[in-house]
């Protein structure tokens, strides 16, 4: 590593932040841009599992809250792609790579949503897992990204409230409604446990080394379990993992090792809904190409 890079590394490891116009080591810039791009892709793809439920929301209040939540996610994608653009990759290129499968998005958005129970579980637990990762980005060494994370985290907190409200209402309702939640939880638990990524030591994780993330994968997962397993159990729900328990001595949660092969398989574009959703994106983009030309032409 050359001198200038080493100084940069020391600077960010000491809590220093950099701006868009500053000199960035090539490796840092490349890893950073890829990471942020994947986040943007995820926000955009995250809209697709949920948007159909806006149309099926069973009350006006739920319809409004869910529309607002999904709208936030589109807004996040917009903010994030702008940051990527300022790092040198135009939005249209990002969308090209997303649709062609060249770039990735998070595992959870490759799975189907089957019932209103999924709507609750996603807003309550999937968003909770995401917010833990996002809070670890508030201190990102790249300041433009850290700044948009503030707005993103603030808006995500509303999503979790909405999720909790949906779940609690269902749990206090009919037997069928409670069953909706349990069944959805059974399907989402696996992807949730995989969400924070392989158990890589922070010092081996380039994202942590460059202080793009301020937290390792395992730590994020532990934080998730600490915060949310008690919430799940107190409602009388069961987690579909008989090994899940907190080791009193170490204070760490023990669980069945997540299926890392499944995670790899899914994020490389082989999830149950990956193709359908990318097809939808592709079609929407093609059909509206003329609109973008008209606006550019003026």
């Amino acid at each position: 590593m050359e001198q200038r890079e080493r100084e940069f590394l020391e600077y960010v490891q000491g809590g220093g932040q950099v701006e868009a116009g500053d000199w960035l080591p090539d490796e840092y810039r490349a890893r950073l841009r890829k990471f942020i791009e994947m986040h943007g892709n995820s926000e955009l793809m995250g809209v697709l599992p949920e948007r159909e439920w806006i149309l099926r929301a069973p009350t006006l209040q739920r319809k409004l809250a869910l529309t607002a939540k999904v709208q936030d996610e589109v807004g996040h994608a917009q903010l994030i792609y702008r940051v990527v653009e300022d790092l040198g990759k135009p939005r249209e290129e990002c969308l090209d790579d997303l649709i062609s499968g060249k770039s990735k998005f998070h595992n959870v958005f490759h799975y189907p949503t089957k019932t209103w129970g999924d709507v609750g579980v996603i807003a309550w637990l999937v968003d909770a897992a995401a917010i833990i990762s996002q809070k670890a980005l508030l201190k990102c060494s790249y300041a433009p990204y850290a700044r948009i994370m503030k707005k993103i985290c603030w808006e995500e907190s509303f999503h979790i409230l909405h999720g909790r409200d949906v779940i609690l209402t269902l749990m206090n309702g009919t037997d069928d409604q409670r069953e909706l939640v349990q069944e959805a939880l059974n399907r989402w638990w696996g992807p949730l446990m995989q969400f924070h990524g392989n158990p890589i030591e922070p010092e081996q994780d380039p994202m942590f080394v460059w202080r793009i993330k301020s937290q390792g994968n395992d730590e994020a997962r532990q934080q998730f379990l600490d915060g949310y397993v008690p919430q799940i159990w107190e409602l009388g729900l069961t987690v579909p993992d008989p090994e899940l328990r907190k080791d009193e001595e170490s204070g760490r949660w023990l669980y069945t090792e997540p299926d890392w092969d499944e995670l790899m398989h899914v994020v490389t574009g082989h999830g149950p809904k990956t193709e359908d959703r990318l097809d939808l994106r592709r079609a929407a983009r093609e059909n509206s190409a003329w609109v973008r030309s008209v606006l550019l032409a003026a």
């Binding site: 702008r82 700044r147 948009i148 603030w154 606006l295 003026a298």
Partner: protein, 95 residues
């Protein structure tokens, strides 16, 4: 075109950079800025400016160490300690 958005959270506070949006013209920029930075009622006011209109100033010259313009040009701590000792009024933890 890229427009930068600055938002004011409460009256009297400074406008802070909140992000940027892409828009075909000022009318679209206004519409989109309102949505992106105001739909949750989170801003008192917004300033929306075309990025090209912003003048950036990032280099400042200080060749001759003008420390009289800075706090480090006024080393008071030691002098105060000495003066207090002379007057016998040094604070207990300084003695």
């Amino acid at each position: 075109m890229i427009y930068e958005v600055f938002r004011q959270e409460r009256k009297g506070q400074a406008f802070q950079h909140a992000g940027s949006i892409e828009a075909a013209d000022e009318r679209f920029a206004e519409s989109y800025a309102r949505e992106q930075y105001g739909r949750r009622g989170e801003s008192q006011a917004l300033w929306v400016v075309a990025r090209d209109s912003i003048m950036r100033i990032e280099e400042f010259v200080d060749e001759l160490n003008r420390n009289y313009h800075r706090v480090d040009g006024y080393p008071l701590k030691e002098k105060l300690k000495e003066a207090r000792e002379r007057a016998g009024t040094a604070a207990p933890r300084d003695r």
